[in-house]
């Protein structure tokens, strides 16, 4: 009889348990039902450049980016009457997203008299879940034509005025506030001022972004140039900056020691070290506006 009571109690408990099982939290059921499709980390850097250098981001399909970037600095120890700044270096460029992962761009910068063009392809996209790639990888190939040439160069013909930059940009968004990028870079320059200067230069880039709030982030970038020019002293480019974006408008404000705005010149021809004495440091300002040339059509909506 005692046994029977025990068994009865057991059944009652089983019954109660199966009942509570049935009243599982509905949200827990839905959690298990969410489709397990691939999700890629968005906005590792948000802008296609961290500060002066390229980032892994590409423009999305059908968007055109207009890019204005300037560096301002002063000539020391002279009395000048220039308004705001003695010297200005600027680059105007257009960048277009052909697909979500492939974009191309062209630009002109006045200081070095360079016409440049580039292709960017996002090869690997980081996935926030553990099963995907832990990093994003973008391939960058740029070329520039030196419009002014160099009167001192021994090979000043058109073909030799071309320079090429190849980069493998590898970045990881560690959390929603912090992203870091490394960028092995090879530069080939057709034209060198002196035979002793290397035509091939290798550089390693390091760049980071720290999000301050939804629209503002702090960025810093440094390139270590392994074999700089021999004919004159050059320095590694470094920057500290703030990136701010709102709607289709993006601004970059930076302090940097480089005056040039194209990869092959800012990496090989930065004339000053980063310190606060004029004219070593430049104020850099960039404005980017993004135009959506193709708008996504919404999938046809069922009758409501």
């Amino acid at each position: 009889m005692k046994n029977r009571k025990l068994i009865l109690a057991c059944f009652l408990i089983v019954g109660l348990l199966s009942q509570t099982n049935a009243q599982d939290n509905l949200l827990d059921i839905l959690d298990a039902e969410h489709p397990n499709e691939k999700i890629f980390t968005a906005a590792t850097f948000k802008m296609t450049r961290i500060s002066y250098g390229q980032s892994i981001e590409t423009r999305k399909k059908g968007t055109l980016e207009t890019y204005w970037s300037y560096r301002f600095w002063n000539i020391p120890n002279t009395r000048t009457q220039s308004f705001f700044a003695d010297k200005v270096s600027g680059r105007l460029a257009l960048e277009y997203g052909v697909t979500d992962r492939f974009s191309m761009g062209v630009g002109y910068s006045n200081y070095d008299d360079l016409f440049d063009g580039f292709l960017k392809y996002k090869l690997v996209r980081q996935q926030p879940r553990n099963d995907g790639s832990p990093v994003s990888i973008t391939l960058f190939q740029g070329g520039s034509y030196n419009g002014g040439g160099n009167p001192y160069a021994n090979n000043n013909d058109d073909f030799n005025r071309l320079s090429y930059t190849s980069q493998v940009l590898i970045a990881r968004k560690f959390n929603s506030n912090f992203s870091f990028q490394i960028a092995p870079t090879i530069i080939h320059r057709g034209m060198t001022a002196w035979p002793s200067d290397p035509t091939n230069t290798f550089a390693m880039g390091f760049g980071g972004r720290f999000k301050i709030n939804g629209h503002l982030s702090f960025v810093s970038e440094y390139y270590w140039v392994t074999n700089p020019l021999k004919s004159k002293e050059t320095f590694d480019p470094f920057s500290l900056g703030l990136n701010w974006e709102i709607g289709g408008l993006m601004f970059q404000c930076m302090l940097t020691n480089t005056r040039s705005l194209v990869e092959d010149t800012y990496l090989t021809q930065t004339p000053n070290s980063f310190n606060f004495k004029a004219p070593n440091i430049n104020l850099g300002l960039t404005a980017i506006y993004i135009w959506h040339l193709k708008k996504k059509k919404h999938p046809p909506q069922n009758k409501l």
Binding site: F11, L27, I29
Partner: protein
């Protein structure tokens, strides 16, 4: 006594699993939201929202991933996820509530109130939604449109864009249900 035991066993078993079959689920629910201002109209749509109804107690739940919302402008999607909703931290929006005075056997259209808690961007608020329930021979479709305030969910809009994003967002959903099997 043994017969009683068997009866209890059978009863408790059916009591448990019987309710399991009284759930219906929608796996491709459509949720859209609209922001209308004189400067800009913003529209976004999610085709993968989930919802489940438990007939035994008229409880209803819904859940959706925020990063699958599609916008007309690709940049808006990026801003939405990174600057406003913070999808990295709050990947989902969820709803948990009850259909008031729901009669599941009623064939045709009926309008009922759904009361519950809506959670978005880490903020949970009680809401009431007037919902149209369409039952054609056991195929349930729920549709509704309701208004919600951006301010309620701690979503910060910079003053410069105050004119571009409406203070009240209109949300529309349509869930088509099928029997839920584990």
């Amino acid at each position: 006594m043994n017969k009683l035991l068997i009866f209890l066993l059978v009863f408790s078993f059916f009591n448990g699993t019987g309710q399991n079959q009284e759930k219906i689920i929608a796996r491709q629910g459509q949720v859209s939201f609209f922001s209308y201002t004189s400067v800009e109209n913003i529209k976004a749509k999610n085709n993968q929202a989930l919802s489940i109804i438990d007939f035994s107690n008229n409880k209803i739940a819904a859940s959706m991933l925020m990063n699958v919302f599609v916008f007309e402008k690709t940049l808006m999607r990026e801003h939405f996820n990174e600057s406003y909703i913070e999808t990295d931290i709050y990947p989902k929006a969820t709803f948990e509530g009850e259909i008031i005075d729901f009669d599941k056997s009623f064939n045709g259209k009926q309008t009922k109130m759904i009361n519950g808690i809506f959670s978005l961007h880490g903020v949970s608020k009680p809401i009431e939604i007037k919902t149209e329930i369409d039952n054609t021979n056991g195929n349930y479709i729920l549709t509704a449109t309701f208004e919600t305030f951006v301010k309620d969910y701690d979503i910060k809009i910079p003053p410069l864009l105050a004119g571009n994003i409406a203070k009240t967002i209109s949300v529309t959903f349509r869930f088509e249900y099928e029997p839920y099997e584990k």
